[in-house]
Subunit: 454 residues, 2 copies
């Protein structure tokens, strides 16, 4: 262990912000994926931009990589420091720097989680709607261009970010945007840094759009005979122009799994979970129009949530879904996150479900079908190499097929370690432009090396 | 004149696609701004991507700049070939390459105009809603990240673009995205090329999101005693969460001007023009809620358009507004396009109006206040240097103030020639990142040189 490095760090930012404890090294060696853990040399808990500039200077002097770490809920190893070095944890940088309700904006430090943020602002009638299943940090969500169940209405992180304060690898600080709602002034650096997975710069402040909390919401679910019918109904709703707040496909196997672990009792059939919001009149109208459409398109029923409690249970179950597959004792899993043109959705869902069925493994197909984005999660026994490769094969085939039909290997989770192998296939010649931008902004490959590109 | 250049071009793409006619050189020397015209050496009308690759090769061999030219409706000299060279006109590349109603997407060549596109797709119940006042080309709109009256609902061009086929300066071809609605796979090149004003690459195909044509719209207008009251009412509507399709501020001087040139008879008072859309029930509800709010916030009246004809006249007048100031015989003009945080809007509008009033010049304040974006247009006699500098001074002060209060010098028109001087002030250290990206992708500064950066 490098005592000089630790000394430099403690001298520069203070002993209480530098850790080489077993627990800290372990925690920062992994995320929610099954990628092999790698421990950093040291974990630092900075409290300011200035401290991060110092940490970067020390990293350069010691020629060590730096990997930002949010809440560690990433699903593809993004925050694993595969070349060791310094892991930066933002949990002490979790403040709201400025709240501007009259602008519908807020500026936060990256370590605040989405739930912490909403807790502070909901009482002002405002919300930040992007909701990955986990209580992720806003920094991590920005770095992965996260989205979730409400993206069909509000878009993903990239649509929410107005400005980022970013520290570049050389220690210089830039602001990528402004507080204006739109701009045609200069190149769009906001969009470039959102989704760059900590490989281009370290975000220290994030200005987000906020949204009013709708007066009224209607939650409903509906079952279908086949996953295909589910996806086709979803497509017809989208094409009708009805404004949905949420539209999730959850296949029968996923419902069974979440019933089991969460003590719910949803009917174990392929389902759409839907939500509408607005004024009372408009949300009710949207729900009623959708009900008609769904019943015309193979929907077997239409169950409205009778109370807020019932609606909360439904969305809690949806958010627990991934955990219910991921946290089966002794089992590992591999997941997919494709997003395809809406016209391809039904075929893709059928294809994915068939591959899982044929493998004999436990797994689910579910996701944000309002955007053409869905997940495959396949559980395997890590001691059984055949199972592991069968599971990997399913997600591999689904990712390749998604790219083939005009889609992407990642709708929202990001590339991390697991989807590097599809970058060439998906982006072709554009990949070399991406690599040259990385080379331009981080010539020493110091920031989160080995992610997105090999 | 360089006959070898012309020979190379005609040999490579055909005589009928190469012009050095006086009319062509004149037309490609200017746009809708008052920047001094500069004629290109030659204008080329390619019909395919392959021909553009050839044109770029010839440009490299002759060490000449290349400037893309859309419809020439830009307002800051973006398409003026200030270093001469080759002007590429896309009017023969105006085809729909693939129309996918079931995906709500379309892929077009860059030369198609927004009206041509809508003419083809409206009969399928779909629209492309971004509507700058001019009938601009989709290529030009993408290159400037244009928006217009509907951005408050649908966003700007950057929010519409799913994929771009782009030819880089070295002749290589990339695709910047996919046909999926969202993606977290790799760096966001879509967003980088949108708004790059022809300086990073030449777009040859553009995949756009489409939107359903709403069942019902309600158009209304309302007058106010002061521009400040107008802007404050706009802010209260935005904060209420009511979904507007359009919300335009038009000050009394602007109304007077458009009445004069367009033979309209709108009341010559500071006004909001509003539109709501959706189902009959939801659009009517939104309109009624807004009416209440507006009357509480200083609105003097609420005039609904009684018929489609009346509503069309209103939006036609709004679109003619800029022309009505710009095309006054013998007069020149200078314009502004700031966008500010909503909380700053009322003060900014008052500031701009006061500057115009004090100057004694003819001018208007109007714009897309739903986004915090508004224009100042000041008319002057180009023979009177005092008028010219007074007019420039107004727009200069407004731009600087907008940046000071957290906004941008350009909400939608782009930088071009006129807003280069604000780039340092607005972007600070980020400007050098932008410049280095330009240097990376176009090291010989061949593509539209002298724009965005000096
Ligand atoms: C049960 C479950 C459900 C999920 N559902 C969804 C979903 O619906 N949608 C979705 O999009 N994701 C989902 N995820 C994935 C995950 O929550 C997201 O990827 C989230 O954005 C990760 O945020 P984090 O704070 O945990 O970041 P981490 O995993 O800690 O890090 C992610 C990346 O962000 C970088 N990073 C973190 N902070 C900074 C910073 N300040 N500056 C620069 N880079 C930084 C890291 O280096 C890393 O590359 C789910 C995960 C789980 C476990
Ligand atoms: C009356 C009036 C009202 C207007 N109202 C609005 C408004 O409300 N909102 C708004 O945003 N704008 C508005 N504008 C400005 C103008 O219409 C927009 O900037 C429009 O996007 C320009 O498109 P164009 O096709 O005319 O492009 P041009 O002016 O011809 O070119 C603009 C830029 O695009 C580049 N370009 C063109 N094609 C390509 C290509 N294929 N590849 C790469 N680069 C390319 C050019 O090099 C140039 O830099 C208005 C203009 C007028 C005259």
């Amino acid at each position: 262990m490098n005592t000089s490095l630790i000394n430099q760090l403690t001298e520069s930012v203070g002993t209480d912000k530098v850790s080489i404890s077993e627990g800290d090294l372990y925690r920062h060696s992994r995320d929610e994926s099954s990628h092999p853990p790698v421990e950093p040399d040291v974990v630092v808990y900075p409290e300011s931009k200035e401290e991060i500039i110092e940490i970067l200077r020390i990293a350069r002097e010691n020629d060590l990589p730096v990997t930002p770490f949010g809440a560690g809920s990433g699903l593809d190893g993004h925050a694993i420091p595969i070349n060791k070095g310094i892991s930066i944890n933002f949990e002490r940088m979790n403040k709201i720097l400025s709240f501007n309700p009259e602008d519908l904006t807020v500026t936060v430090q990256p370590g605040i989680t989405r739930k912490q943020l909403n807790k502070s602002i909901n009482r002002h009638g405002l919300q930040f709607p992007v909701d990955p299943g986990a209580d992720a940090s806003i920094g991590g969500m920005t770095a992965t261009n996260a989205s979730g169940t409400t993206a069909v209405r509000y878009g993903s992180m990239r649509d929410q970010v107005l400005n980022l304060e970013v520290i570049l690898a050389d220690g210089s600080v830039i602001n990528t945007g402004s507080r204006a709602k739109k701009s045609s002034s200069g190149y769009n650096l906001n969009g470039l840094f959102v989704g760059s997975e900590g490989t281009l710069g370290i975000m220290t402040a994030i200005t987000l759009k906020l949204h009013g909390i709708p007066e009224h919401t209607v939650t409903a679910r509906c079952t279908f005979k086949t996953p295909k019918a589910c996806a086709e109904a979803a497509q017809s709703i989208l094409m009708s122009g009805i404004q949905v707040l949420r539209m999730e496909l959850v296949d029968a196997d996923s419902i069974r799994q979440v019933n089991l672990t969460g003590e719910h009792s949803f009917p174990e059939a392929h389902s759409l979970f839907l939500e509408f919001s607005g004024t009372v009149a408009s949300a009710e109208e949207d729900a009623n129009l959708t009900k008609e459409l769904v019943l015309e398109h193979g929907g077997e029923n239409w169950e409205r949530a009778d109370s807020a409690a019932e609606s909360n249970e439904l969305w809690r179950a949806r958010h627990e879904l991934a955990y219910s597959f991921r946290h089966i004792k002794g089992m590992a899993n591999s997941g997919g996150d494709v997003c395809v043109p809406i016209s391809q959705l039904a075929d893709m869902v059928v294809y994915a479900r068939k591959l899982i069925d044929e493998s004999g493994l436990l797994g689910g197909v579910f996701g944000h079908v309002g955007d053409g984005n869905f997940h495959t999660l396949v559980v395997y026994d890590p001691g059984e190499s055949k199972q592991a490769s069968a599971s990997a094969r399913i997600n591999d085939l689904v990712a390749r097929k998604a790219i083939e039909v005009g889609g992407t290997c990642s709708g929202e989770h990001g590339v991390g370690l697991g989807k590097m192998k599809y970058q060439e296939l998906e982006h072709g010649a554009a990949l070399s432009v991406m690599k040259s931008i990385k080379q331009l902004l981080d010539p020493e490959n110091r920031l989160n090396p080995g992610k997105i590109f090999s």
